[in-house]
Subunit: 223 residues, 2 copies
DNA sequence: CAAAATATTTAGTCTAACCTAAAATATATT
DNA sequence: AATATATTTTAGGTTAGACTAAATATTTTG
């Protein structure tokens, strides 16, 4: 039976997961920034996580950390909670996608596995949250996402928005205002090589989007 | 603005509220028992709560504690959270009344006021939780409960069950099996002065109930 | 490639909340 | 009223997780 992982430890593991999704290791400083904690404190916690048995992270001084199998499981558990909660807050309590993050951030640490199963079932075992992020499966596997950044599209390509990587409520409301939400069909009509702006048609409206936005929106290209 | 009240402090305040509802003060030992904490630890926390500004409890050495106005507000806030959560877990996620307590016990400390408002509204601002306990109002007043213990009824009295005071899941399932749940109509048909047993008709069935049960069920007597 | 800049770790503090053991104070009994 | 018992408090210790300041690695750059 796995040790009790504290709320703080869960937060660390979740961030480490995110920072190492690309295969790299997570540095002390990066973690400190993401967690709003001083680097010295991060070192302390990392050492504790590495000393657990089974170890939750792999750690060599000055080399950054990666997750062990046990650590990854714990991280995916929290991420599954978070994304199911966001989905459920939006669908059953009328939250908007810019309002759910904080609430889910607190709830994710305290809900039971029973609660998790109940909301998953009530939602029909969704695979993506309101931002289009993939929800780890009940057996804690992260599905593979084969979506493409919108910034890679060129004129005459059609696509469906899969996910939007952003937490900032202002940005989220802005994107919602433009109709740039998961599930929406778009078409790229123009591309400017100088500033990498794309003109994107959403329904009957068109908008010029900069890299700031087009790198945060991931799409599935229509055949 | 009120100070941040920690989860532990919230638990203390909630218990103190319950132990002092009858107007008495709560003793260190009683609190320790209710909270599954050693008496010495309780003294420490009480002193801290009394030293807050504004003070959350009134405390004189060896005299037990009572809640201040600020402390009572904080307690009612937590109790409102708890009872709304129980109601909502039962109504929207299919929990039974014997399953909700623990889950609500953890969630009550982390939900936002926004979340509270949303579930209250979604439930139609209920006044009682699944056990029939009164839910403090949004402005943190505890409604008056004028119900009578079932043990006080005598043959030929009819009544409606208002609330059932119990957390033990086994007992709750037992009562549910007997049909003794809030809202149900009952009639007392027999009384035994020796053991204080009551025979109670629920629909077409009758059961003999001892004091252990009849003092935990509160009813409104039909005119 | 050495100096400067940056990143990381160590060492020592702090707070919250618990614990045990012992001392102090209340209450109850004779 | 004196003693016994029960309750409560004090004193000192532990763990988790944060902090600051100082020391040490590592990386970047002139």
């Amino acid at each position: 039976m796995p040790k009790t992982v504290t709320k703080s430890a869960q937060d660390y593991l979740k961030r480490i997961y995110e920072l190492t999704e690309d295969g790299s290791s997570a540095s002390t400083n990066d973690l400190a920034r993401e967690l709003n904690i001083k680097p010295a404190s991060v070192t302390g916690m990392i050492q504790k996580l590495a000393a657990e048995k089974p170890a939750l992270v792999e750690y060599q001084k000055h080399q950054g950390v990666t997750l062990t199998t046990a650590g990854k499981r714990a991280a995916l558990e929290v991420i599954r909670h978070h994304r199911l909660l966001e989905t459920w807050l939006v669908q059953t309590l009328g939250y908007t996608w810019d309002e759910v993050h904080e609430e889910a951030e607190r709830l994710e640490h305290v809900i039971s596995e029973d609660f998790e199963r109940r909301i998953a079932a009530a939602l029909g075992n969704p695979t993506r949250d309101p931002h289009g992020e993939l929800i780890p499966t009940a057996d804690l596997k992260m599905p593979v996402d084969d979506s493409t950044p919108l910034s890679a599209l060129r004129p005459n390509q059609n696509a469906t928005i899969q996910r939007v990587i952003a937490q900032d409520p202002d940005l989220l409301r802005h994107l919602d205002g433009l109709g740039l939400t998961p599930g929406i069909q778009i078409e790229v009509t123009e591309y400017s090589a100088f500033d990498n702006n794309l003109t994107v048609r959403i329904g009957k409206k068109s908008n010029v989007l900069g890299l700031n936005i087009t790198t945060k929106i991931f799409v599935e290209i229509s055949k």
